[in-house]
Amino acid sequence: MNAIIVSAFLGVVMMFASWSIKGENKQKNIALFGLIFLILANLAQLNGWYVAEVDTNNMLSFTRFGLYTNTLFYCLTFIYIWINGEEISKIGNHAADFYALFFFILCGASILTSFNNLLMLFIGIEILSIPLYILTGSDKKSLFSNEAAIKYFLMGSFSTGILLLGITFIYGATGSFNLIPPDPSILNEQFMFSAGLILIFAAMNFKVSAAPFHFWTPDVYDGAPTVFTSFMATIAKSAGFIAFINIYLVQYKPFEKTWGIILPLVIVSTLMVGNVTAVFQRSVKRMLTYSSIAQAGFMLFALYGSSSFANEGILLYMVVYSLASIGIFAVLVKMKENSFEAFHGLAKTHPLLAFLTTVFLCSLAGIPITGGFFAKYYMINAVLIAGAGMWLVVVAMIFASISVYYYFKLIQAMYFVPGTPAIGELDKSYTYKLAVIAILILILGVFPNLLFNYLYF
């Protein structure tokens, strides 16, 4: 509860900061302090300290898992703003507005980690999505950005409509918006309930950009300013996953018969579309958007979980994937163009930066000693324990080895092809900030359990 109230409040504070406080650096620092305050407020709830007593009529329920997930989101956002602060202020005239939007997105994410009611799910998704539409179109002078925003908005509204339809069906079948699973016997009687489940499933797939609902992703991620693509592809997307898992893994697991049939199809098509299309991309940014679709395919494995591996795995996957993506997008922001050619010879001129990019790419590819390895490991383990079939894992691994192809293409461009990289001004401290991310990824790659220590005690 604390997190939802404080993040919304901080969003308003940032809006006022946009005209009362001049200086982008100050605004960034306020946002960072706000995040620290948010983290503390969220942790305080664990100890039973509340900002305000609110009776939610069981529409929200706060679990240890949800609160911990919130903390991770805030920490990731902190790292994101800490690194990208300068770039954010280069877009538009009022950087603080964007920080306000981030806080609103976090507010939506906090609802998505704790909803216990389909209406709250709807509200959470909307609070999360609308700021994202604005962020996509924030580069007002760029046609691509505008086009992407319109596209995202139209498609997003459409999927929200489908979500609402699904919610209505479920209400019709059970007579309640609450997420408490109804008596399984109604499933035999009411076709409506299954239809509702499947409609919500489709809408959620849209939000996490799983195929065949992924068509908006490449254009939107490509059109949006790169800094914001970084945020959308990482934290916002992860929040969608948490909501997805909260509905299907926690609440509607008994009804796996209905949505469980579609799941493997969705996973395989997501992996295929993401990985195969990424191979043919000539722009690094577009390659990364397809790779983010491919990674979504892996994260969907968490829906198979009947073990702690699924919960732990999705957290680890989220964190590691977000860290690596934030890192690689932060490198991309500094490039003058998005093509692979721009990276030629980067290893010669910027050896440390090239090395850090290699760590991020290796993590995305799932190579040992980086966190990405254990993320994939946990996912495979979850699926195998759930007994979902060896074929699915083998297919996923074949696609994982295809992913190595396009990730390593970038490594090749940096290390093995001579040339002058098209890179902008870069101060030392920026590289060191990226090094912090890389170190975190490497630590998680050797001791993944560090992330779970706080989940249980």
Binding site: Y377, M397, V404, Y415, N449
Partner: protein, 472 residues
């Protein structure tokens, strides 16, 4: 003690990143690898206690290093190969030599880890760790087509190791105590069908690494394009990872599935042996010739292991070591010739015996070992292996036996073209070869003949592993 095999290369590799001077970098690398060699000899002589610390408590993964005979013989091979390679190629001047050497030592670290780990997850970690530096080494310092070729090699092996990862998790789920230790894996409750699944997943990884016949296409190109030091590492030590995997993981863990697949694998191996031998005969490029000859020899070892007789496995363990030494000698000679004449085509060589008698004698020595002539180490190993293959099936044994004749054809043909005949213009350019490389070659040749005449110490070394494998 066992930790030193990981730590010495690792720390030196990190240190080398900061040493810009080529000479001192080279010296440090040599000292470090010689240090590892001393440690390896001590461990091989006395044995060592296991090194065991908890690693990832949630998964019950442990950092367990364990040295039995099989591990010791391969650690010894690795420990001998690396100083030999670095000393013999120290005249070569790659750009940024310190980084080159550093990556080479990271590879050594990974290889040592593969051979020593007694925990499946750790094994997987090191398995990948040995691959990644090689990818960079070959792609940066390799020949003309290096990038595409190395990429093929990398993706091929990476796909294999991902399959092995699934296999590891699959077996892990079926262990009674949820542990990655090899003992727990051996006790896992797997039905026949489950064993076959796990067997297939592991086998793909090992088969690609060795490589076995239909999966071998990456190898000749990769060997040809890699810088010679890396080719030496790959063919002397890295291919042994696949055979080691079979002896350590496949055979003891999935005995039922192993027995069920004997025929398929042996036949594939024999096809591979003959196929590679015939292609080797047609090669003009000396590096490609050695590469194909290596495929044939590895195929023979694999066939012998899968023939599932004690002597075959014993011979294969012995040959793991011998083949590494022999092929290393051949590569070093080939590298010296290539560095000094600038050609790898045997057409353009000739008359080495007149121009460089010492080098020619050494070449003939290693060539004889490659044909497995009596008195050389390869004879001992191949004798046992053929014996085993004949016991398995006379026709298969006979077919594989043809490879000895074929080996004689292509090896002697090579010796004839390179060492005898008129002195060609290319060979005529050769200067005196440097002393260190010469010493390395002589030491290797001594090992070839000493272990050929007195093989018993090596058999004693591997006796305990053999006992364990046979008991299963």
């Amino acid at each position: 003690m066992l930790l030193s095999f990981i730590l010495i290369p690792f720390v030196t590799a990190l240190l080398l990143l900061f040493i810009k001077n080529d000479k001192s970098a080279n010296t440090i690398a040599i000292v470090s690898t010689l240090g590892t060699l001393v440690a390896a000899i001590v461990v091989a002589g006395n044995g060592a206690v296991d090194f065991n610390v908890p690693w990832i408590s949630v998964l019950h993964a442990q950092f367990l290093l364990h040295a039995d005979g099989l591990a010791k013989i391969l650690v010894l091979l690795t420990a001998i190969s690396f100083p030999a390679i670095i000393i013999a190629t120290s005249q070569n001047q790659p750009k940024q030599k310190n980084i080159f050497l550093s990556l080479l030592l990271f590879t050594q670290c990974g290889l040592m880890g593969v051979f020593l780990s007694g925990d499946a997850l750790l094994f997987y970690f090191f398995w990948e760790l040995a691959l990644i530096p090689v990818y960079f080494l070959s792609s940066i310092w390799g020949g003309e087509k290096r990038i595409a070729v190395t990429f093929k090699f990398f993706i091929y092996t990476f796909l294999g190791s991902l399959m092995m990862l699934i296999g590891i998790i699959y077996v892990y789920m079926h262990t009674s105590d949820q542990s990655f230790l090899i003992q727990s894996f051996a006790k896992a409750n797997l039905t026949g069908g489950q064993q076959v699944t796990a067997f297939a997943l592991f086998f793909i990884a090992f088969a690609i690494k060795m490589p076995i016949f239909p999966l071998h296409t990456w190898q000749p190109d990769a060997y040809e394009q890699a810088p010679t030091a890396v080719t030496m590492v790959m063919s002397a030590v890295m291919v042994k990872m696949g055979l080691y995997g079979i002896l350590r993981w496949l055979l003891p863990l999935f005995p039922t599935a192993f027995v069920a697949h004997i025929n398929v694998v042996v036949i594939l191996s024999v096809i591979g042996i003959l196929y590679a031998s015939f292609i080797a005969i047609r090669q003009d490029d000396i590096k490609r010739l050695i590469a194909y000859s290596s495929i044939a020899h590895i195929g023979l070892m694999n066939a012998a292991i899968f023939s599932h007789h004690q002597i075959g496995i014993q011979g294969a363990m012995f040959q793991l070591f011998s083949h590494g030494i022999n092929v290393l000698g051949l590569w070093i000679v080939a590298d010296i010739i290539e560095q000094q004449t600038g050609t790898r085509s045997m057409q353009q060589m000739g008359g080495l015996a007149k121009k460089q008698p010492t080098l020619a004698i050494l070449l003939v020595g290693f060539a004889l070992a490659n044909i497995a002539l009596p008195l050389t180490n390869a004879f001992v190993g191949e004798f046992l292996m053929f014996n085993s293959l004949f016991q398995y099936n006379v026709w298969v044994g006979a077919a594989a036996g043809v490879s000895i004749i074929l080996a004689a054809i292509y090896t002697l043909n090579m010796v004839q073209k390179v060492a005898y005949g008129e002195v060609s213009t290319q060979i005529n350019q050769m200067q005196t070869i440097n002393k260190p490389a010469q010493i390395v070659l002589i030491v290797l040749l001594i090992i070839v003949f000493v272990t050929g005449v007195f093989p018993q110490p090596l058999f004693d070394l591997t006796a305990d592993s053999l006992q364990q494998i046979i008991v299963k």
